[in-house]
């Protein structure tokens, strides 16, 4: 039987300060860069605008392309190489262009097409892909994405509240909020374009990370019954250790699939694949170091009625020394006696 990380008893919770510091630093760096370089790159789905992907017969001069578009009155278009040197994307999503698309979304694309054909020759390129979104559709999709995010958080919250008790639910939801913050920081630092697909990626990542949290919490719930009277911190650590092989295996297979997408599935899907690859890391990290300590904190702040004694014991134990060595149930129970009401 091949086994990794079997029967471990690492004290994960001990490192929560380091973990919290790391993740807060990462989020701060990400959000600080908002102040420096502006917001994230939204795709034309959200801003409205025109995106064209052109495949040229000969590698064209980008400066000529730019000046041609400028002369045609399409200012501020972003021209980017896309894969090969013959393939380019042109994005026009500045306000003037988007507003002109309110009268008919196809106008800007048609102008770009005709101007470039006039300059480079009628069959110098083929239009591989062309997307034009009017301002109204853009704002609708933006609203839809926000509603989807809120609804999906609410739905999970309600489900968790029904399945687990509220302490677990709250910890899981707070940890999900952390995941969103970290992912937004990641998207900003990687300069990924936020499209509807990336939003779908964030929601999938949330679900995936929540899965991890649920699996650990499920084990905590089970262990709480099994090892009554044990300090909560010990139970939590045990649950994390017990689910460790599963975590490693699942993350390995998911990472394998994600890397395959990232490396082989092409440019269009890449931002999504990046979000998911990051998601595997986030899920591992946040289910152990965010959801766990949060649950511990909540348990301490609002101890269970029937296990108020356990909470008290835990506080006593924590006062006694923060070495985090798992205590045996018996010693925990023993230390409960004096402090119980």
């Amino acid at each position: 039987m091949l086994r990794i990380l079997h029967n471990t008893s690492y004290d994960f919770i001990k490192w929560w300060r380091v973990a919290a510091l790391t993740t807060v630093a990462f989020i701060l760096i990400g959000f600080a860069s908002f102040a420096v370089t502006g917001g994230v790159n939204y795709s034309i789905e959200f801003t409205g605008g025109t995106l064209m992907q052109l495949l040229f017969k000969q590698p064209p001069d980008v400066a000529v392309m730019r000046s041609t578009l400028d002369q045609a009155g399409i200012h501020g278009a972003e021209i980017q190489q896309f894969g090969s040197p013959r393939e380019f994307t042109i994005r026009a999503q500045d306000r003037a262009n988007v507003e002109s698309q309110g009268r008919g979304a196809e106008g800007v694309a048609r102008r770009i097409d005709s101007q470039l054909r006039e300059r480079f020759g009628a069959d110098a390129f083929t239009v591989v892909r062309s997307e034009a979104v009017g301002p109204k559709v853009g704002s609708e999709l933006r609203r839809g994405a926000i509603i989807a995010m809120i609804l999906s958080s609410l739905a999970t919250l309600i489900y968790l509240a029904l399945r687990f008790e509220w302490r677990f639910g709250l910890a899981a939801v707070l940890s999900s909020a952390h995941d969103v913050a970290v992912t937004i920081a990641f998207i900003k630092l990687m300069n990924l374009e936020v499209s509807l697909m990336v939003v779908a990626g964030i929601l999938t990542l949330l679900g995936y990370s929540l899965n991890d949290t649920i699996i650990i919490f499920d084990r905590v719930r089970e262990d709480l019954k099994k090892y009554r009277g044990e300090p909560f911190r010990t139970t939590l650590n045990r649950a994390i250790n017990e689910t460790l092989p599963r975590s490693v295996l699942t993350h390995a297979t998911t990472l394998a699939a994600t890397l395959a997408l990232l490396l082989f599935a092409g440019e269009v899907i890449r931002p999504f694949a990046w979000v998911m690859a990051f998601g595997v890391v986030v899920a591992t990290f946040s289910s152990i170091y965010v959801a766990g300590p949060l649950l511990l904190w909540i348990e301490r702040k609002w101890p269970r009625k029937e296990s108020a004694a356990v909470g008290a014991a835990q506080r006593a134990a924590d006062r006694a020394g923060r070495d985090g060595r798992p205590r045996s149930p018996r010693s925990a129970a023993a230390s409960t006696m004096p402090s119980s009401r």
């Binding site: 591989v128 509807l196 779908a200 995936y208 092409g266 999504f272």
Partner: protein, 562 residues
Amino acid sequence: MSNLKYRVALIGALILASVWALFPRTVIERTPRGGTFVYDTVKRVPLKLGLDLQGGMHLALEVDESKGAVANKSDALDNALRVVRNRIDEFGVSEPVVQKVGEDRIIVELPGVTDPERATALVQKSAFLQFQITDETQALDRVATRIDGIVRDRGLTARSAAASPTKTPTAGDKAVQSLFVGDSAAVAGDSAKRLATADSATPDTNTAALTGTRDGPFSRLLQPYQIPGQYLVAASDEPTMRLFLADSAVQAALPPGKVVRWGSDTVVAGGKSYRSLYVLDTRPIITGDYLVDAKPRSDPMEGTVVTFTLNNEGARRFKTETARHIQDNMAIVLDDRVMSAPVIQSSIGRDGQITMGRADVQAAQDLALVLRAGSLPVALKVAEVRQIGASLGQDSIDRGLVAGAIAIALVVLIMIGYYRLSGVLAVFALILYMLYTLAVLAGFDAVLTLPGIAGLVLTVGIAVDANVLIFERIREELDRGKTVRTAIDEGFRHALSAIVDTSVTTILTGAILYQYGTGPVRGFAVTLIAGILASMFTAIFVTRTFYLVWLSRTAAGRPLSI
């Protein structure tokens, strides 16, 4: 044991159902053959590919209210939807989608369209056909001086118009052609009934005679031409004239009961090109509503024409009206542009034709098509358009398949490497998972998109999670010294709650994405949901059955390879 038999039978039945759902079948669909589309039987796998995978065009249309508000938008859109659907049905696309979304939008999806401009024009063309008698009272001449005054007062100058782009005049030869051919016999009567063109005076004499007779800023631009109510405007003056005509005060000053319409062709005279401007009776003698059929025709004499047929009531009206207007000119106006204005020689009944000069046959085909389908009750504007080339779609499929194959290979390697025989069972379950997922997609007529493929690849990684959970539990139970059979039972029992919880949260996310996402993202949501359902079933039921089979075939006490 009978329990086990039922389990195996159920899995087998599901495999059969899945294979059947995915088996290439004969369907009747529109396929291109020799340039046109015909209904034909095709054999194909019943998995629908999204526009992003097979290439095509997605259009979202809205009521255009830039030229005045539309009173009952929803009703107008319903009527527009019917017209657009009629047009698209006749347009050569294999499986078009035309549907109303919400209260104010029509979605048109055209798989495999190679000429997006043509498709857009076809959908947007109003195709509002009117027959209006040209003005014979020189109504415009009488108000020209007043309009001159208005133009001067309001400071509308030629210079302000110069900023707007000038329309490129069409090639000269075409204009000459339409001048001599286009206007002659533009409406073919019933059998012997014919229409002759007005006497053609050469443009030169006309213009020469008139130059200098007018000097107002408005009237200066107008030169009366052959037909009563027809004027020529130099192509270079067209933007200025459009600017004048767009002015509200000028519009108010136009003769009552008359409308001003541009002609569709360009007249070349003396090396200069001119556009026609017509003054017409506002009341049409008949509209395209009575039209029952329209066909394109190519004629060596007349160029490209579209002939049409009116229904009984239309024919009756047309006959009385034309009888009243013999020797008058009747303008055939399509979407507010005068196509031609022949003289009515005698009353006309059922059939007529629209001359298109040298326009290509395709344009005539499209015009006939939109006339047959009926006119749009409201103007539509494009709110969103996505067009994806077929090559990009194929490329996406290829790359998706490669990524999927690599993902599966890696997952298989990890699972078998780590769990040995149990890993092999998990891999079998994974294969069934893929089969079931695709079958569910085919069964529910779901559309496979590029994000959908990404979702599938991703769920391959996530699908084994349930198996991993179970296997780890079984290992723990074995560690506690339980027998293989008990360990398996306990393992499944304990893992169940976690599997259900994680699946439900993912399905909730998927459902919300489906509700709020657009086409491609919906495809992702659908594969995600189908994938999670299939993975739950394969992990909980199929893998368990595999174990039960294994248990029933090995001697008790033999260690489990896990």
